[in-house]
């Protein structure tokens, strides 16, 4: 009962924040709304008793990605403080792409058999996540880290001073 009340409140909060993200005219505000959306999703994870996922959500999305986005907005001078229009020349293509994505997601979600019975949450999920990272899913895990390394080296190559 209480959980459902919290869930509904948080879902409304998250959706409101997501709506704010796409409708805000000020880019900085849009980024802040995005942070709110991430925080809402993290709370939903907590409600599902997935603490690790919730905390990772905050660390990765709020701590790293949102900060990076805000930083990028702050560094680009023309964006700061000005109200940017919600539409640009590509709105038609963007709308088409979004509609397609929505249709695909909706079809996918209607096909997925969702568990309606509440399964017991295993006591120590964190150990299971850890052992599957270095066990079953070791190759995707390593590929992801190689990808990050490539991005890191690329960033250094772009930013370094060229001598001579």
């Amino acid at each position: 009962m209480l959980q459902q009340v919290i869930f509904i409140l948080m879902a409304i909060f998250t959706l409101g924040m997501a709506l704010g993200t796409v409708t805000a005219r000020n880019l900085f505000h849009a980024a802040l709304f995005l942070v709110g959306t991430f925080a809402g999703v993290a709370v939903l994870y907590v409600l599902l008793e997935a603490e690790f996922l919730a905390v990772s959500q905050v660390v990765v999305y709020i701590g790293a990605i949102a900060t990076l986005i805000i930083f990028a907005i702050m560094l680009s001078r023309s964006m700061m403080g000005k109200e940017a229009g919600a539409m640009n020349k590509q709105w038609l293509f963007a709308a088409g792409g979004s509609a397609l994505l929505f249709i695909v997601l909706a079809m996918l979600l209607s096909k997925v058999p969702f568990a309606t019975q509440v399964a017991p949450v295993p006591p120590d999920t964190i150990e299971q996540i850890g052992s599957s990272f270095v066990g079953v899913y070791v190759i995707p895990f390593e590929v992801a880290s190689v990808l990050l390394l490539v991005a890191l080296i690329g960033a250094i190559m772009l930013a370094r001073e060229r001598h001579g």
């Binding site: 009962m1 209480l2 000020n26 900085f28 505000h29 802040l32 942070v35 603490e51 690790f52 905390v55 990772s56 905050v58 660390v59 709020i62 701590g63 790293a64 949102a66 900060t67 805000i70 930083f71 702050m74 403080g81 120590d124 999920t125 964190i126």
Partner: protein, 399 residues
């Protein structure tokens, strides 16, 4: 009076009984107990800050051959209360061009993130807000909210200095988060748990020989230096370097909103000291703590205060670094050393040595990496010292 009867659990049990006798539902009792626990932590944190500000000012005064606050109350103890009252009565100025909502939200978020961190800190074996199994990661997540608050304040103030302060927040807090996390992960690897209380329990041994600071001194050093930077303390207080950017991201804040940032700053320092105590100094562990669990709170607060004292001591004695020095110290010294230590500890733990041997190997590895790192740093610094003092060497034109 029988000392062993002092058990904090008894208070909890009494309160639980009181709620049951009032005939509430199970959920209601749970919610009320959680709220009361959260309120207690909040009150504890806010009251503590009043004392911490006085302590730090007094210490800094003594260290710098001044008297420090000594007018209001005995030993100036009520100075902070007077200051808080003054700040409460001050006019609350909002800049005309400020971005109102983020501007007003930022001080709240700054305090919020520190109080959230209090939730997972084990004051004793039983006195802990929430002993979640991702405690260490949770602390990092909460810290991220703190840098978000400073960023919002810097941007929304619509002030050049505040904006530079905001940029520095991202640069400093994000950079130093890396050695901080790496240093915190090392005890987690050794003890095999991310629970804050689990970390404290893992260090239980006679006379504090089980403390991770003995076996992992380098990890503690990295943690401590990074925590100074995360706590925005001198020599790393570049965020509010008065001589460069006036007051950094909180320049436009006045009255109680400024006080909130101030409060968050002091509580953050204390929380970092408390994390250091839990992870490296055995937390609530101490003599006779098994017989008398309430002693754990005293040990914990005592150790944390000692660590806080060292932070204040460093702050009062060291001059501020330059921003480029600070960044290169993090990226070229702390991060590589933390990574090497991380790899070394992982390999040593994989060897599966018997207990005393493993601790000795860890200690040897720590000291060896520290000495190598410091020697290399000294060598490069000396080279830089003797290098020609010109910004560029003129090239002789070829004829």
């Amino acid at each position: 009076m029988d000392l062993s009867s002092i058990d904090l659990r008894a208070i909890g049990a009494w309160f639980h009984g009181l709620l049951i006798s009032s005939g509430m539902s199970q959920t209601g009792i749970h919610v009320i107990e959680a709220l009361v626990g959260a309120l207690l932590l909040l009150i504890f944190g806010l009251t503590l800050v009043i004392f911490l500000i006085w302590l730090e000012r007094k210490l800094a005064g003594r260290i710098q051959d001044r008297l420090g606050p000594n007018r209001v109350g005995p030993y100036g103890l009520l100075q902070t209360v007077a200051d808080a009252l003054k700040l409460l009565t001050k006019e609350d100025v909002t800049p005309l061009d400020a971005d109102r909502v983020p501007y007003n939200l930022a001080p709240g978020l700054a305090v919020f993130h520190v109080i959230m961190a209090l939730a997972v800190i084990p004051f004793s074996n039983r006195v802990i807000g929430a002993d979640i199994n991702v405690g260490v990661l949770y602390l990092m997540a909460v810290g991220a909210i703190g840098s978000m608050a400073a960023l919002m304040a810097g941007w929304a103030s619509n002030n050049k200095y505040a904006l530079i302060g905001g940029f520095r927040v991202v640069a400093q807090l994000l950079s130093y988060e890396i050695p901080l996390v790496l240093a915190m992960i090392i005890p987690v690897m050794v003890s095999g748990t991310m629970r804050m209380n689990g970390l404290a329990v893992a260090q239980g041994s006679i006379f504090g020989f089980g403390w991770f600071v003995w076996t992992l001194p380098l990890a503690f050093l990295i943690f401590f230096v990074a925590s100074l930077a995360e706590g925005e303390r001198a020599p790393f207080d570049l965020l509010e370097a008065e001589s460069e950017i006036v007051a950094g991201y909180n320049i436009e804040y006045s009255g109680m909103k400024f006080a909130w940032f101030f409060l968050a700053f002091f509580m953050n320092s204390w929380v970092l000291a408390a994390i250091g105590t839990t992870i490296f100094f055995g937390g609530w562990q101490g003599p006779f703590v098994d017989q008398l669990p309430a002693l754990g709170v005293i040990y914990f607060l005592g150790k944390t205060m000692i660590l806080f004292f060292v932070q204040a001591w460093v702050r009062a004695t060291f001059p501020r670094l330059r921003i480029d020095q600070m960044m290169s110290f993090c990226w070229k010294f702390l991060v590589p050393m933390a990574l090497v230590l991380f790899a070394a500890v992982a390999i040593i733990l994989k060897l599966n040595l018997p207990q005393p041997l493993e601790a000795i190997t860890l200690l040897v590895a720590n000291v060896a990496i520290l000495l190598t790192g410091v020697t290399l740093l000294g060598r490069t610094q000396r080279k830089a010292l003797y290098a020609p003092k010109r910004a560029f060497t003129p090239t002789i034109p070829r004829l």
